[in-house]
């Protein structure tokens, strides 16, 4: 008779930490970890000791104090009384803006150059080869400085736009290319403007869904749905919503209110303009953010023949921005600005409520669009209003885009060449045109090779954007790592925070791109 016995319970002996391969790796890793921790602890205590010896400490309290300096490009509200923390946020947003713009541009450039580098056309192929070799072999800092220098040295200064024989003039009356940057019209969203934008976004989503459905139909059933439907989905609803608003809410009449000391009641805008020139009255136009009427009223004023702002002796005009109609009314009543557009129904009431005296001009300003253009104009020194795209942003954006685009082109070329030529030949034998072969057969497979290195290129762009310092672009390195660091002298704190920011941004980009990579990679079953 035999009895089943359990296999002998293997007892753990201390020597197994060294002799047993199962445990040995843990032992060494543990030792390495201890060594690493002690090294860091040593460096850390050394730092703290040295700081204490120098009478310094580590403190982040400075982040809450007023920064005291101004930043020229700010995507959120900021002035010199805002905190250092807010200045850092302004910097982060600027970093993200230039990184985003450069990533998009570099991808477009890179994919185009990569595909064209494999073109059958000798000239195109060689041109792309020259592009790639020239741009990726010269440091990006050099490109940034070249573009910036060209921009400031070649483009005219705003002063050249002024005078009887001005050497420059605005393009289409709304674009100005100057050494201080490019001034382009901005968009103003009035009543219903937001809804138009939402409709557009929904339409884009609809178009993407339609595209997916179309591809699925093509793959599953070999049936091709018409392409124009996608464009119709994109355009038609937006136009309908836009028209609906401009025909209803957009029909509101508005009046321009001015102090009674510079105009009599019920004069027309034209007469008013002539009076301005004879009396040499300076205009301070109250611009209300998100009010299309305010933008259109300004356009009418600037369109007056009398308002020749390019003439050095002309009426001087400036505009002051307000975030709400109530703020603007208060400021107007206090005399901080002297031209305000209000709905005609409120005009008489408001004019009589201003203690210093105010009148409404006779000319109507029709608020006839949910979205309007706010065009820049030449103020005392430079162009104001609209959107200012600074030379530093352009230099950084383009330099990063063309530099990294060259690397992406090589990734794309490698990806395409990784696809067996048989795939192309097979597709061609089915009678597909070259463009469709690229879009339907080669690129989808090549993406699996292209995406992973593309992620590093995006990270490179984001990190290289810190070269902004060379052209005075106020990114996070310029605000937190530059001026704040310098004004407060908190170098270690600022650099640590800067590292944390870049780490978070980089890991987020990498995370999002890896999700995309998982979506397109070869699904093996």
């Amino acid at each position: 008779m035999t009895t089943m016995t359990d296999p002998p319970q293997e007892s753990f002996r201390l020597s197994m930490l060294l002799n047993d391969t199962r445990y040995r790796s843990y032992t060494f890793q543990f030792i390495a970890l201890i060594a690493l921790i002690s090294l860091i602890a040593y460096l850390g205590s050394n730092l703290v000791q040295n700081l204490r010896a120098a009478g310094l400490n580590i403190s982040y309290e400075f982040l809450g104090e007023p920064a005291g300096y101004d930043i020229n490009q700010r995507l959120i509200e900021y002035d010199s009384q805002s905190s250092h923390w807010r200045a850092s946020i302004v910097g982060i947003l600027n970093t993200l803006l230039v990184a985003f713009l450069a990533c998009v541009t570099a991808t477009i450039l890179g994919v185009a150059a990569g595909v064209l580098r494999l073109s059958n056309n000798w000239l195109v192929r060689k041109l792309m080869a020259i592009y790639v070799e020239a741009f990726r072999n010269v440091p990006v800092l050099i490109w940034i400085i070249i573009i910036f220098t060209v921009m400031t040295a070649v483009l005219p200064s705003p002063r050249a736009f002024r005078g009887e024989d001005a050497t420059s003039s605005m393009l289409l009356d709304s674009l100005a290319f100057t050494s201080q940057g490019v001034f382009v019209p901005g968009l103003v969203f009035g009543t219903g403007g937001l809804l138009v934008v939402l409709t557009l976004l929904a339409s884009i989503a609809g178009m993407v869904f339609y595209g997916k459905y179309r591809t699925k139909k093509l793959y599953d059933e070999g049936k091709e749905l018409p392409g124009w439907v996608g464009w119709a989905i994109l355009i038609v609803p937006t136009i309908l919503v836009y028209q609906a608003f401009s025909l209803t809410a957009g029909q509101v009449e508005n009046r321009i209110i001015v102090p009674s000391e510079i105009a009599a009641a019920d004069v027309s805008l034209e007469q008013f303009g002539e009076r301005l020139v004879t009396d040499k009255t300076n205009i301070n136009y109250c611009v209300v953010t998100d009010s299309t009427a305010s933008a259109l009223g300004k356009k009418m004023l600037l369109g007056l023949p009398a308002m020749e702002l390019t003439n050095p002796d002309a009426v001087k005009m400036k505009s002051t921005r307000f975030f709400s109609m109530d703020d603007a009314k208060t400021a107007f009543a206090a005399g901080s600005c002297n031209m305000l557009v209000v709905p005609a129904s409120e005009a008489a009431n408001f004019a009589s409520s201003v203690e210093t005296g105010a009148v409404a001009l006779a000319t109507n300003v029709k608020d006839n669009a949910p979205i309007a253009f706010d065009t820049p104009y030449l103020a005392n020194f430079r162009f104001t209003d609209g959107i200012t795209v600074r030379g530093s942003l352009i230099a950084l954006w383009f330099a990063l885009a063309i530099y990294t685009g060259a690397f992406i082109a090589e990734n794309v070329r490698a990806g395409i060449q990784a696809i067996s030529k048989g795939q192309t030949e097979a597709a061609a034998s089915l009678g597909l045109r070259p463009g469709r072969i690229m879009n339907l057969v080669v690129l989808p497979q090549a993406l699996r090779v292209i995406i992973p290195p593309l992620i590093s290129q995006y990270l490179n762009i984001t990190k290289n954007s810190s070269l902004a310092i060379a052209v005075g672009y106020m990114d996070i390195t310029g605000t937190l790592g530059g001026i704040t660091l310098n004004q407060t002298g908190r170098a270690i704190e600022c650099v640590l925070l800067l590292m944390l920011f870049y780490l978070v941004i980089s890991l987020s980009i990498s995370g999002v791109m890896n999700i995309y990579n998982n979506a397109v990679k070869l699904k093996e079953r």
């Binding site: 050494s179 030379g391 310029g478 004004q487 002298g489």
Partner: protein, 340 residues
């Protein structure tokens, strides 16, 4: 991810450890090294700029040379380290330079919070504005909406924001790093106005092709006492730099010049303060840890007035009047404590 965090922390800790090796005895360090590391600007005509042969010359450079001469006996024993508005304090705090002589404004926070020690004032200045003449601006208050070039990380940057805010007018800052960059941008019209210390504006304008085409606006919007500084906590070294600067100022007041210093130092004369200054009487040099004739060596390059006239005075292209920087006996602010 864990790895990158650890390596990142390692890098920071490493950098910080390397940055704080500055030891206490700067005077001994300088003597042992045989060379003074002096931080100056990256180039501002009249104050500190390398000439065609690469020799640094200027008003701030004169202070560096005087200290080197006092400590090492050789005014040429200076390693000039060009620093920008942003790198200067890090360079000093980390011990890369022994002293900073670079149009740096003496402010409370720099003295107290940044742990530096200003040893005196070698130029009393104020912030001004320069604009092209054809802009037709006659006052800084007319600058509403102008684009202003400003060196980042400076006190002028903060004053600028305050000036425009308190006057209720707006401006567009263009941040730049160095004076040379500002000059290039200003001349290209990338900014309408350049603002910095009035002396710096005068020096910059002197380097223009057409200096008459640019005007300095009458407003001086701040007090900018510029002076050399050292690290906090090394009082022996601070004393050396402080009293070298004072020696230059006192020498002018007492009429000791580079021309007559040799003669006066030859034997004790009848002015006891001159004797103490030049080491023919008393042991002031020994108290500082230097030779008895330390001030004689320092004065070989000229006294304060001579250095001023040679580099930025009215007969130079920079053309600055003594103004506030005249001796107290002449109605200025220069006043050195007595040598006794």
């Amino acid at each position: 991810m864990k790895k990158s965090v650890i390596f990142g922390a390692l890098t920071v800790a490493g950098m910080a450890a390397a940055a704080s090796v500055a030891s206490a005895g700067t005077l001994d360090d300088v003597k042992a090294r045989g060379k003074l590391n002096c931080g100056v600007t990256t180039g501002l005509v009249g104050f500190a700029a390398p000439d065609a042969n690469g020799n640094w010359d200027g008003f701030d450079v004169g202070v560096c040379r005087a200290v080197a001469a006092a400590v090492l006996g050789d005014p040429a024993a200076v390693e000039f380290v060009p620093t920008t508005g942003k790198t200067r304090f890090t360079a000093l705090a980390s011990g890369e330079i022994d002293m900073l002589a670079r149009n740096t404004t003496w402010t409370f926070s720099r003295d107290v919070d940044l742990k530096f020690e200003f040893v005196g004032v070698n130029y009393y200045d104020g912030q001004g504005f320069m604009v092209p003449k054809d802009l037709g601006v006659s006052s800084a208050k007319d600058l509403d909406g102008a684009t202003v070039c400003i060196q980042t990380g400076t006190t002028t940057e903060l004053n600028l924001a305050d000036f425009f805010r308190s006057n209720g007018i707006s401006y567009e800052p263009v941040p730049i790093e160095t004076n040379a960059e500002a000059q290039q941008q200003y001349l290209a019209g990338a900014c309408d106005v350049y603002t910095t210390d009035a002396s710096g504006l005068a020096a910059t304008r002197a380097a223009f092709e057409d200096p008459a085409g640019h005007v300095l606006l009458p407003e001086i919007v701040s007090k900018e006492p510029l002076g050399p500084l050292v690290r906090h906590g090394d009082n022996e070294w601070g004393d050396v730099v402080r009293w070298t600067l004072n020696a230059l100022i006192t020498a002018e007041e007492l009429g000791v010049t580079s021309a007559n210093v040799g003669e006066l130092a030859g034997a004790a004369g009848d002015n006891p303060e001159v004797n103490r200054l030049l080491g023919t009487e008393g042991n002031l040099g020994e108290m500082l840890g230097l030779d008895a004739d330390w001030a004689v060596k320092a004065l070989a390059g000229g006294n304060y007035g001579e250095i001023f006239e040679k580099n930025i005075g009215e007969n130079t292209p920079v053309g600055l009047a003594r103004g506030l920087n005249a001796q107290w006996t002449e109605g200025g602010l220069l006043y050195s404590p007595p040598f006794r």
